[in-house]
Symmetry: C4
Amino acid sequence: MANFGGHAIPGTFFLIYGFWLTVKHILQHYWRKNQPKGRQVVPPSFKRMEYFEGGFTMFAAFVGIMVEQFVVDGPHAHLYDKDKGTWVKLMNWQHSTMYLFFGIFGIALVASTASKLLPVGVDRLALSLALFVEGFLFYYHVHSRPPLDAHIHSLLLVAVFSGSGSTMLQVFIRDNILLQMFGACMFLLQGSWFYQIGFVLYPLSGPQWELTLHDNIMFVTMCFCWHLAVALLLVVFTSSVVWLTLTRFSGRRRDVEIGMRNTSLKTSSQKALLEESDEE
Amino acid sequence: MANFGGHAIPGTFFLIYGFWLTVKHILQHYWRKNQPKGRQVVPPSFKRMEYFEGGFTMFAAFVGIMVEQFVVDGPHAHLYDKDKGTWVKLMNWQHSTMYLFFGIFGIALVASTASKLLPVGVDRLALSLALFVEGFLFYYHVHSRPPLDAHIHSLLLVAVFSGSGSTMLQVFIRDNILLQMFGACMFLLQGSWFYQIGFVLYPLSGPQWELTLHDNIMFVTMCFCWHLAVALLLVVFTSSVVWLTLTRFSGRRRDVEIGMRNTSLKTSSQKALLEESDEE
Amino acid sequence: MANFGGHAIPGTFFLIYGFWLTVKHILQHYWRKNQPKGRQVVPPSFKRMEYFEGGFTMFAAFVGIMVEQFVVDGPHAHLYDKDKGTWVKLMNWQHSTMYLFFGIFGIALVASTASKLLPVGVDRLALSLALFVEGFLFYYHVHSRPPLDAHIHSLLLVAVFSGSGSTMLQVFIRDNILLQMFGACMFLLQGSWFYQIGFVLYPLSGPQWELTLHDNIMFVTMCFCWHLAVALLLVVFTSSVVWLTLTRFSGRRRDVEIGMRNTSLKTSSQKALLEESDEE
Amino acid sequence: MANFGGHAIPGTFFLIYGFWLTVKHILQHYWRKNQPKGRQVVPPSFKRMEYFEGGFTMFAAFVGIMVEQFVVDGPHAHLYDKDKGTWVKLMNWQHSTMYLFFGIFGIALVASTASKLLPVGVDRLALSLALFVEGFLFYYHVHSRPPLDAHIHSLLLVAVFSGSGSTMLQVFIRDNILLQMFGACMFLLQGSWFYQIGFVLYPLSGPQWELTLHDNIMFVTMCFCWHLAVALLLVVFTSSVVWLTLTRFSGRRRDVEIGMRNTSLKTSSQKALLEESDEE
């Protein structure tokens, strides 16, 4: 989809997913930190979050594939035109392939949440593969384009492969909040960079960018670092807000509980119940 | 062996080996999971499987080398033709070298199964080296060929080196089922891609592929990702079937044993025997 | 800043920082080695050192950005000249971007020292990112320059990326003195190589270097190894001096304390106090 | 030293060092395996071996530097010829630099054996750096040579950098016999490949090799794999011989001791002594 919208849509998805990952992992980290040693059963709300994430990813991947195939100028599920002897709309097919692997990640996430038979980390491996395939296809996507176009896409690969690598590491190094935040940051970077590609290659207003000018390439390289700085800032800001909210919320809940205990403490069974919820 | 058969034969071998690895590692994983803590002696049937795998690899490598050398248009163990001052059939010699290293892997597997003196993981290292040598020779194999031919072989290298790397990791990270399944998946991918190379370069029917067309290269890149998706599916399907069979089989065996115990339980020595087999 | 001073200033900073890292990590290592098992609270002087390092880094980064922007021939915070349709002084903007990420490292260091909420190792990750961004921008900086100029800058990248990689490893492998010394060594190497670049490209006296001569490239490559040897020597020398000073100092302090105890030992409360400080 | 001897001398050294490493690590491995849990003090004979290795490396590096500098057509410690405005014999200077880093390794080995203050693994890091510098200098050494010459040297880099990487891993993964044997194997490979380079570029008899023929490059690539196979075989053979000798020797020594005890057992002090040596 060689227009601004075609870059804004995946960009929006990746941005939202980056924020989602930040919030999810901070919630899990808070829960791990505030958990008494004995109780290590993951609460059902976390499972529900994973089901939602997996289900949504499957749904979005399915919609993505359908749109790429059955859009007006799409291939309509035709791969090879025997009459002309040419491939039909390979770009749409490549995008469908990328969505397919994100769909596989969704399936892996739902399955590994539902069943304890699947090995731990299979969802991380699937996400890492999905990012790898995305980068792999983009890598050969980019050949024989004008310098600025090729360069701005190859910078995207830095975010994609860093994300793939850090997600792969999470298969082996579990529950490391730094790795998880770094992964989220790479999704934010990827998302915002998709927007940047849209702005540069299909400017909404103003003149076209000169695609062969060396100064443009230098600016775009530097601009990528600024996006990285902003992505770091967004991760820090989001996780701080989530953490503070959690601290305040659980503090207030505790106060409420203590208040309740003081006024309505009557039977020992109630008392035991309250203490249990207090430990949470 | 520049024809369809020359790609189908190694492809078949790698496909079979990928399935074998999937089944073997799932069996070992099931055994590890269902084992009481105290009994960690590997059952003799697992040892027999390793002997079979190693012995077969040695045999296949030996046959491979013989065929490459003594086929009608082979080098017949002549390396250098002094009269003409040229090397004799270097392609066959290169293939023989690849087989040699798979043969070394076979020897390492048999030896490390037979003797506890060999360090743990020496078979993984040997397999990793065999894949590395295969990729290493292919890498220089490919130079100065038409673009599509070079590209389709270089995609094979992605599977080969990923397999080599993940197998090398298994030297240090033992008994990780995800790594083992990933390794098996890379063998399946390699095997099916050999077939794809055969179909593209030596089509059984229809016209020849245009070896310089950029669209063909784009399609082949995408097709590689489809093979990866299929390889993942095959690993998941095979391991599920094996796992379910094992669960059902051991469940039924337990029922049978309980039935036996109810009807024929007579002496305490028999009882102890049955309980022992029940624990397995 | 394409002159000798423009390379001497960052070189000096990196040299000083390399020495600082060596001294800091040796102090921490000495403290860890001589600490009784029970007392693992980091002494406040170490915290103060981290605050100083972080604060100074922030300050230096701020000054660096200001200087790059508001120097006489700087961009004065203008990025794009709409009249001419050109970017304004991109080189200064790139240097500002590098300083920005070192500033982010300073913030991360201060924040992670001040609060236990931040995950362990966030400062190492930020430093690794700062070095990565530096190398990343330099990498595209170097294109389309004369051979010797490009080569001498690409050798700098060896030091920068080795530093970034080893610092990234410190996120996962904590308190490994070898890794820490290697990181410090890479800073010293980077610092001294900045000077070397200055001497080669903007010689203070004597003739200009021939930028296309192959022999010059060969010499410069070898010279980089000599810088590495000198950097190793500096790390070994500095850490030996610090270690010996610490051993002698703590030995003398102990003697003084023992002397004090012998002459002024009067009450049991004083005695307990002295024994406590003795254990430090 | 562009002649056969100039490749045979380092080749011989690397071959000998590869054998030495194999023997040393097998001895250490045997000792670790047969040691009762309580006694973990390294026997003095191991320390003596390290001193010998370090001392010899220092000596050889010193001799190497001297020979490269003061050989008849050497630079005689002159780096720059001011009259001609050219560098003097850069090749000899580069070789001296390589020797220098192996000398540094020797110093690190002796120092880390002598003193417990040095961090564990500093000798491995120094050896890894020495190999890295060797590979680094060779990498730029090779540019602008005929294809076969460049290719045969770049294959050497595979052995050098694999050796450097596996040695670096030994800094973090201590006492892993597989890693140690792999490192030894890379030294043997490097040594035998130096000979191969000598035979190809400066044949002792017969015609010169055609340096641009593609078939020669293909043969040389394959030949490298054969050298790897031979290096593996040598490591396996050497370690087996050493292990068998150790097993037989310690078995016989035990028999001798038991015999001695039976015939000459007289005082309890002697008895205690014998039992002690029995435990070793």
